[in-house]
């Protein structure tokens, strides 16, 4: 998939700052590179299951217009006792497919950062409620950690353990690609269909 280039020669990135409006989300298209800034919340298997079963958000967490990052970071306390994220790439998103749309709708979440894409239920939910799937580079834990400016808070650390906790992160120009948009397009579905056709010819 071709990318637009900026004058500097780098791939042109659309700036996205949380909280994000529905209008901003609806303007995003599959294949577009984005640079995300503002507060995002990590949330993965345990959090999604908990919220889907009717669990309440901890006080201080506001997901309205926000982004959930499918990520279990490595976080250590520095010498001053402050949390510091030392590795933070995305985890595989498809595991949240049963829960994602309902949680996005219920809490007003506008975007999800993850890897590997999600399925038809989430794609339909993105179209209906105005949401988007943002693909970060899987495994690029160091590059992505450099875009995390600060850890504001952590919730459910005791209950779920560090990788599964909700980490409230301030991100700065965090790079991702729109691979599922609010117009019914999924790059994952398109590549899967095209690759299956080539595979069938080569069997």
């Amino acid at each position: 998939m071709k990318q637009e280039k900026s004058r500097s020669g780098f791939i042109k990135m659309t700036e996205l700052t949380t909280p994000i409006s529905e209008e901003q989300i609806r303007a995003l298209k599959v294949g577009e590179s984005v640079a995300i800034s503002g507060v995002v919340y990590t949330g993965r298997d345990a959090v999604h299951k908990y919220l889907h079963e009717g669990g309440e958000l901890p006080e201080g967490v506001n997901l309205e217009g926000s982004i959930i990052y499918h990520c279990g970071p490595v976080v250590v306390k520095d010498d001053a006792g402050e949390w510091k994220v030392t590795a933070a790439g995305p985890t595989t998103s498809i595991r949240e497919e049963p829960y994602q749309t309902d949680i996005m709708k219920k809490f007003g979440v506008r975007g999800v950062i993850g890897k590997g894409g999600m399925g038809p239920k989430t794609l339909a939910g993105c179209a209906e409620n105005g949401g988007v799937y943002l693909h970060a580079i899987g495994g690029a834990a160091q590059v992505l950690a450099e875009h995390i400016a600060q850890v504001h808070n952590v919730y459910f650390l005791e209950e779920f353990g560090s990788p599964e906790a909700i980490w409230e992160l301030e991100v700065n120009q965090f790079p991702a690609v729109v691979t599922m948009d609010s117009h019914g397009r999924s790059l994952h579905a398109e590549v899967a269909e095209a690759s299956q056709a080539v595979l069938d010819e080569n069997l």
């Binding site: 998939m1 071709k2 990318q3 280039k5 791939i11 294949g31 590179s33 345990a46 990520c71 279990g72 970071p73 490595v74 250590v76 030392t86 590795a87 933070a88 790439g89 985890t91 595989t92 498809i94 890897k115 590997g116 894409g117 693909h135 580079i137 899987g138 495994g139 690029a140 834990a141 160091q142 590059v143 950690a145 450099e146 779920f160 353990g161 560090s162 990788p163 599964e164 790079p175 690609v177 691979t179 790059l187 994952h188 590549v191 899967a192 095209a194 690759s195 299956q196 080539v198 595979l199 080569n202 069997l203």
Partner: protein, 292 residues
């Protein structure tokens, strides 16, 4: 055993933070091979930058520091239990130092006590040798790529795969197609043809100990490895499943005997963040040589 303790921490650190040379060469070739101004090229550029950054900062290449798999060749009479105790302590210390994520969860209670120690964690595979030295190889295998591994029982009607090498080829390529996007490609396949269900998977993982540049001693399997590698890279799945030229960085296959009734093909998938190192230790437990 103090030297062994420190040596094992160093092996863990290096495995977590530094990609082996053979894998790095394959990644650089893949980067060159993607078209300019594509999201696939951009993904490979970020991956290249990530490799350099992890090494420079001595921090985990990927936040999922994975299942901790030790492969230990040791002389007859070597105290394996003492090694395992020392290795468990080294794993916990490496976790405290941030080389490993708190990554081990009690499957029944859901509790993560942060030590990375528990039933089956870490995993040890001891093999006796007649050499005097101890060789320790370590693989850190992330969950994303582990989840896309697959085991096929032939014949497979849906894939029209019979009990022959062409049938193996069909199911292995199906595994590549199914894994797309989810396993952090471009990936590496480790495959075992035959064995029972448990040893099939086990032996498929030992293929990750092979150097990517080596050549299979079995000519038929060498040809199958090349064929699957080339065919997979025609599929257009590309890095991260974004579409592109490099879907796999390598394919390694071995065979094991089977019982007449069973014909398993076990496929393990390794992400681009292929963490594998190894070292030879002297009797004092000090590292005398790195293997990769």
């Amino acid at each position: 055993m103090d030297s062994l303790f420190e040596s094992l921490i160093e092996i863990i650190r290096r495995t977590s933070a530094e990609i082996p040379d053979d894998v790095q060469r394959a990644i650089l070739a893949a980067l060159e091979n993607e078209k300019q101004d594509t999201i696939a090229k951009n993904a490979m550029e970020i991956i290249e930058r990530n490799i350099a950054l992890a090494k420079e900062k001595s921090q985990p290449l990927c936040q999922d520091t994975g299942s901790v798999l030790f492969y230990v060749d040791c002389p007859v009479g070597y105290d394996q239990m003492e090694f395992a105790d020392t290795a468990r302590a080294a794993v916990t210390e490496a976790t405290t130092r941030g080389f490993l994520r708190q990554n081990s969860v009690d499957s029944l209670t859901g509790k993560n006590d942060g030590t990375n120690i528990g039933p089956g964690a870490p995993t040890f595979h001891f093999h006796q040798t007649r050499k005097a030295n101890v060789t320790v190889r370590l693989v850190l295998k992330g969950g994303g790529c582990e989840n896309v591994g697959a085991q096929y029982s032939l014949p497979n009607t849906k894939l029209n795969a019979n009990r022959d090498l062409d049938g193996c080829r069909k199911v292995i390529l199906d595994a590549v197609q199914q894994a797309q996007g989810k396993g952090c490609g471009p990936g590496i396949l480790g495959v075992c043809i035959g064995g029972d269900r448990a040893t099939g998977y086990e032996l498929s993982k030992t293929q990750f100990l092979r150097n990517l540049d080596d050549e299979n001693e079995n000519a038929e399997l060498a040809a199958l490895e090349t064929d699957i590698h080339n065919t997979a890279n025609k599929l257009g799945i590309g890095p991260m499943g974004f579409g592109g030229n490099t879907t796999l960085l390598g394919v390694k296959i071995r065979a094991a005997n089977r019982v007449p009734a069973s014909y398993f093909v076990s496929v393990s998938y390794m992400c681009w963040a292929f963490r594998r190192h190894g070292a030879v230790l002297n009797e004092a437990g000090e590292i005398t040589e790195w293997l990769y």
